[in-house]
Every structure is written in C-alpha cells, then in structure tokens.
Symmetry: D2
Subunit: 150 residues, 4 copies
C-alpha cells in the first residue's frame, strides 16, 4: 500500500484539542516519556475526536459491531516531555480511500507550544470477527459532516 | 475478607523459576523499574507455573471457560533493578479456601540473589460471563498433584 | 514491618477527587482493565493530591532532591471497568511512622459510585542517590496542615 | 528528513532472532495485542541485536555516555497475536546517514511464520545531556563488522 503523505495539513478537517499530563509510569530512565506511550496518547486523541466531532464514542461504535484496528502507524519524535508536563493533543481525521480511516495527531507542550511528537495512524473497518467491512453509510455521512464543520 | 498471612513459606508447594530481563519500557525516571511492572512480571510467573506444574496453559484454561480474575494483590518492593538486569521469578501456588487461588511470587536478581520484589495475588474462579464458579474438580485434582510433586 | 491496617477511614484526612477515563490501552482480553493499571491510576491520584493539598507537585519535590519510592502496595479489585468508563479517584494521605508516607486510594465509577478498586501505597523518603532520609520539616508541616484542612 | 524506504531487505545486514510470548498485560479488549506493545517488542529486538551482533549491551553503551533516542518509528500491523502466542522477532540494523541508526524489525508467529507486525525505528546519537553527537569511531567500526558477518 502506498502510504498517504505524512502530516500535510488537510483543509477543512478540523482538529480537536485534548490536554493530558505525562504520568510517571510513562517516563523511562532517559527522563523523558517512553516512545510507545505516544501511541497511547494518539488513542486518547482519537477517542475525544470521535466523541466531539462525530457525537459518537468509539465504545458505542464497537457496541454496534464496527471495529477500527490499526493497520499502520507513523511517529516522529520532535522533543522531550517530562513527568507532569501538560501536553496538548491535536487530532484531525478523514476517510482514506474506501475502507480506511486516518487520524493525524500533533502533540505539543501546552505552555510553550514546543513540539513533542506527531504522526498518523491508519485503521481498517472490521466486524466483531475481524472480517473487513465497508464503513457503514451513517458513519461516512457523519465523517463528511465533521470535515465540513469549523 | 481476612487476608492470608503474606509470604509464609508454604511446605510442599513447589516453586518455579522464570528468568526475564528488565525492558527499557519498564524503567521510569528514577532509573529503576516502575512499580506496576511487578504485577506484569507476577503474571509471567503465574503463566509459566501453570504451564509447567499443571501441564495446562492459562490460555487453555480460558478456552475451557474458566477465568481467574485478580481479587487482591500485595507487593513489597525490596530493591531496585535496572534496564537489562536479569531477574529470577520464583512462583508457588495453592488453592485458598474453596474458590480462591493464591500465587506467591518472589523476584530476585539472577546473578546476586538480591531481592527485588515479593508479594502475592489472589484470584477468583469465574465463567466467561464473570459469574463466580467453583474450581472444576479436574483443576483441583491437578493443583493437589502439583503441590505434592518435588 | 507491621503493615498499617488497610482501608480504615482516617479522620481528618481529606480526600481529593480526580476523574479519568479508562484507555483502550489499559484494557485486556477479559474486557476490563488490566490489574497493573490500578497502580498507575493510584499514581495519578497521589500526583493530584500533592498538587492540591500540599500546593507542591511531586515533580517539584523531586527537583528539591526528595524522592518517594514505593515500598509496599496493596490492592483489592472490587468491580470491573470498561474502556471509556469515567472513574473517580479519591485519595487521602498521611505520614506513617517517622519516615513513611501512606496514600489510601479508592476508585469508583463516576456515574454510579460502584466500586472498582481500593488500596494503599507506602513510600519511603530518599535522596537522589536512593539513600533513606527523614522527611524535611517543611514537608511534614505541610502534611500536618493538609490533614487539618476540610 | 527524507525517510528511508521501508522494509527493503538490506543485503549483508544479518538479522537476529528473539522469541517472546505475548503477555496478558499486552492484550486489549479486541483480544489481540495492543498496538503500542509492538514498539516495546522492537526494543527487545534492538537490545538482543546489539548484545549478539555488537558484543555490547545497550546498557553498556549508555554507561559510556552514548544514548540512542528514537526520532522516528513506522509500524505495519499485518496480523493478530493472542495471549501466550510465541513470537519470533527478527532484527537487522545499520547506520543511516552520518548520525542515525536504523533498526528494521519483523515479528512473526514462531510456529506458523504468519506475519504480525513489521517496521523500523530510527535513532539519533546523543550524550547524557541529550546533545546530538557523532557515533563514536569504535561504534561505527563494530557496526561495519556486524554488517559483514554472516
């Protein structure tokens, strides 16, 4: 699969902000956050993006039999973040092709705006048995509306 | 519930050894392992104890509809362990009362024997719907045999 | 060391509330949160307790050369919690003996009050080189004031 | 920075195999491993590659003041893996440009060879204060030798 170009700002795709603090459990002996935590913060960004932009929690989506397993992830580490630092997670999303969903995430320090990590995740649509499905029409409709709102 | 006395050596309950290395992801900015990792290492100890002593993986047990959710855990942190240190996980187990399973775990440095953490976990027996069940007879039989073997 | 009695409500020790959502990364294949995450949530509770009650972040405390490594932890798992559930973390704290700090934590569902997990952690005081120290006088003073405030 | 082409087999860069089992703590409610765990397994692969190919643990490298923080990571999720599944982690490495180190990792099921995840990580060289440095000559020499050995 040809990967979509990373981190190009997508016109009309509104971003959502989430604040979170670096937990002590997320640090490592280098004194910054351990790299895999970024993917866990990306998940927090997706969760809040869906709740606010689609008016639908991902928990509710799974309850309706639609799952969004990761198929690809890309991360660029741009600066450190220490325990208790307050971070701003900015997320945007859009359908990628016919059966993929893509989230772009930027994480910066809340106080200074200094960059921490950015990247994207690409998700398939599957049913509860992990069989690939097309995104339901109502879901695609909500995505289109979310992309148009300011 | 009255907690069982912690860490009393249980006669006739054979222990099993597992070696594992501290991962970088398991360290924190204090330079030792983050405290919650101990519970993850306890799980590794339980997994190998069941495989070796019961001749039954926990995965196989769940496949037969028997789950062992934690109801209680106790941890004593006795010394640090750094990234890449090789640890020895010593596990013993026994039925506790009629419907509880208890694992006692000690973790030491493999090279020096210096203590790292010890503690216990207590588990209920449930079915797939999380309803409490009695341990199946065949499971109790295997536990009795495991406790007798050297 | 004789463990302090677990979970006895301590008169005059005010509790602080923190809300957090269960992350997908914190679930396991049983469908509830993985047990070790509770210790990570306890840490979030301690962090906010110190910020609000002592007027001092734990990050600032470490910056002054005072560290609080865990020496003991006890957990009782009282009910499940699923991805995206909103939890209320209630924390209280007090000096335990001359050189120990104890946090008691209760985690409940925010909406129903149903219990999820409760327990305590006991911490030593050390310097940056992990040598045991007495709690600084100014710290003990703040703890005493925190215990008296409503 | 122009990212190196992903996953092209690099001639002469020998791979090393590590086996590991999926921990229960690494699963999520979808029943497979949570995505961020892949980066933790990649770390295990790097650690063993360095120990076996360079004759130098990463712990020893840090002790000599050379750190390898991640600057980029890419992951492709190719198949599920369940609790207790035995995985084979295959790692290769090489210098990328003058001051970058790149690890390519493939993770497959040990028994069937079915793919689980593949990807790469790119690392900077820094000193203990996180200032970028050139890789030490002795390190570059060992890398060259490692790349030539079968």
């Amino acid at each position: 699969m040809q990967p979509p170009p990373p981190h190009k700002p997508v016109p009309g795709k509104p971003a959502d902000l989430l604040n979170l603090r670096v937990r002590y459990s997320e640090t490592d002996q280098m004194g910054t956050f351990y790299n895999s935590r970024a993917l866990e913060w990306f998940e927090c960004g997706r969760t809040e993006w869906m709740r606010h932009r689609l008016g639908l929690s991902y928990a509710a989506l799974e309850a309706q039999g639609v799952y969004l397993p990761l198929v690809e992830a890309h991360l660029e580490f741009r600066g450190g973040a220490r325990y208790d630092d307050l971070l701003a997670v900015s997320t945007s999303a859009g359908l990628a092709g016919r059966a993929r969903l893509r989230f772009d995430v930027q994480i910066n320090h809340q106080s200074t705006g200094n960059p921490v990590v950015r990247g994207y995740t690409i998700h398939a649509f599957t049913d509860a048995a992990r069989k690939p499905i097309r995104p339901p029409d109502w879901f695609a409709d909500r995505m289109t509306k979310a992309a148009k709102s300011p």
